[in-house]
Amino acid sequence: MKNKLGLIFSVVILLLLVGLIAGDLFFEKPKSQKNIYEYDLDKLRQVDSSLIAYKETTSFKIDGEAVYGLAIGNEDNIYVSGRNKLWIFNPKGELQSSMKVRGDAHCLNVSESGNILLGVGNRVDIRKPDGGLNNSFLVKGKNAYISSLVEKEGIVYVADAGQKIVHEYSVDGKKVKDIGGKNLEKGIRGFVVPSPYFDLMLGRQGELWVVNPGRHALEAYNSKGDLISTWERTSMQVDGFGGCCNPSHVAMLSDGSFVTSEKGLERIKVHLPSGDFKSVVAAPSQFDAGTTGLDLAVDSNDRIVVLDPLRKMVRIFELK
């Protein structure tokens, strides 16, 4: 009896031992995933919900390989440019038409006359409202890269992120002048553009607003190219712009407030005409981490239209 118990005890011990060895050999213990050098942006991604004044009311997906630029045209139609293609949607997001374009149009704009302006690398395409090519011209310079463009009364303003300057052309492609080049006597500090996000837009009085992303600033120029207004807000908090170069895109509401989108911290905000922070349109949690190139436009009802290139969607935000 005593021998039998000893034998059972020995077998149990042996089985335990075999089990332990097998566990150690065949089942890998999960390694601690804690990173003691964690770079934590979670706190900055959190936005006080009372600051969010907008809600997403409409969104629709775009059936294309890649999408880059967004604009609002006449009758609040939504224009989206992408890889070799241009789509036109009605304000409800229903596809009206689409057309092939030559190359990847990284930016576009629709003028008051209905002309469609596309920036394709260093080339400006001006298309008639029906899509037919009206004119096309190249921006000179080996580093030229068009990141934004607008047309006003036959003048085309082209933001060149590669050469860090705004070019003024006539619609037929004749160079008129450069705007925003460093001239400290005139109070112009020059554009700082570390990455290819360099946006511009027309203000309510027809003035040209240009983002100076490396300075976290917006600068307004008159038709002579003189600096007439500027504001900047550098901050990693919600009241300003952080990182190397923000805001990446801008648009203007009917009251003159600025709508801004950022990269790094993917968020969309409204700043008062003075530049002070007003409210949040969309918090970082509403975008996929790493989203860049959130192009913006505002329609006649002050709806904020956002192009989400990662999800290949147009997302529309309205006041709560």
Partner: protein, 190 residues
């Protein structure tokens, strides 16, 4: 009577010995060839796969780690508000230690002209934690990148960091192309 074609024990043993000798020769040649080839390769990080998990700082057999942050100057925006230099929630853009992201103060900031600053990595202080790399990639152009510094790496057969790397970013590269930067620059610059 002996059957025709049937080998005797002596022949069988001889044949076995010949096979064993041949196999050994081939094996030894293979091992030597492998050693020669792997002697011409070095461990390196694929910056496109690296997730800056922090294990390069803690898993390397060399102390401090042979993995260092390398600055690809050609890609740098020379930003004032540098995501790789300053802590994310910084209130003042100054060189104060409380504002710096690097846990060992291994990044030196130098004023160039308004608003540009140059950032230099002090290799002796860098522990390869990748915190600055993540900050630079999140807000900037990603000019700070983690690379194995070959003047410090002891080129272990089985790299301890490669074994722990969760994104499989370590691989052997030819010794004549020892760095795998993303961006414009090919040569190492400290």
């Amino acid at each position: 009577m002996e059957k025709k074609g049937k080998k005797d024990r002596r022949d069988f043993i001889n044949t076995c010995f010949r096979f064993a000798a041949g196999a050994s020769l081939v094996g030894v040649t293979g091992v030597l060839a492998h050693k020669t080839v792997s002697g011409n390769t070095l461990w390196q990080i694929d910056t496109t796969k690296c997730t800056q998990c922090g294990r390069c700082a803690t898993s390397c057999v060399v102390t401090p780690s042979a993995v260092k942050c390398i600055h690809v100057y050609d890609m740098c925006g020379y930003c004032d508000l540098c995501g790789g230099y300053l802590r994310p929630n910084v209130k003042n853009i100054t060189t104060g230690a409380e504002n710096q992201l690097c846990p060992t103060g291994a990044i030196k900031r130098k004023y160039i002209e308004d608003p540009f600053f140059e950032y230099e990595i002090i290799e002796d202080l860098c522990i390869g934690c990748g915190k600055c790399v993540k900050g630079c990639g999140a807000f900037g152009n990603g000019s700070l990148q983690l690379q194995v510094s070959h003047d410090l790496c002891v080129n272990c057969n089985q790299c301890a960091i490669a074994r722990d790397c969760p994104s499989d970013a370590f691989s052997r590269v030819p010794a004549d192309e020892p760095y795998k930067f993303s961006g414009f620059k090919k040569e190492k610059k400290g």
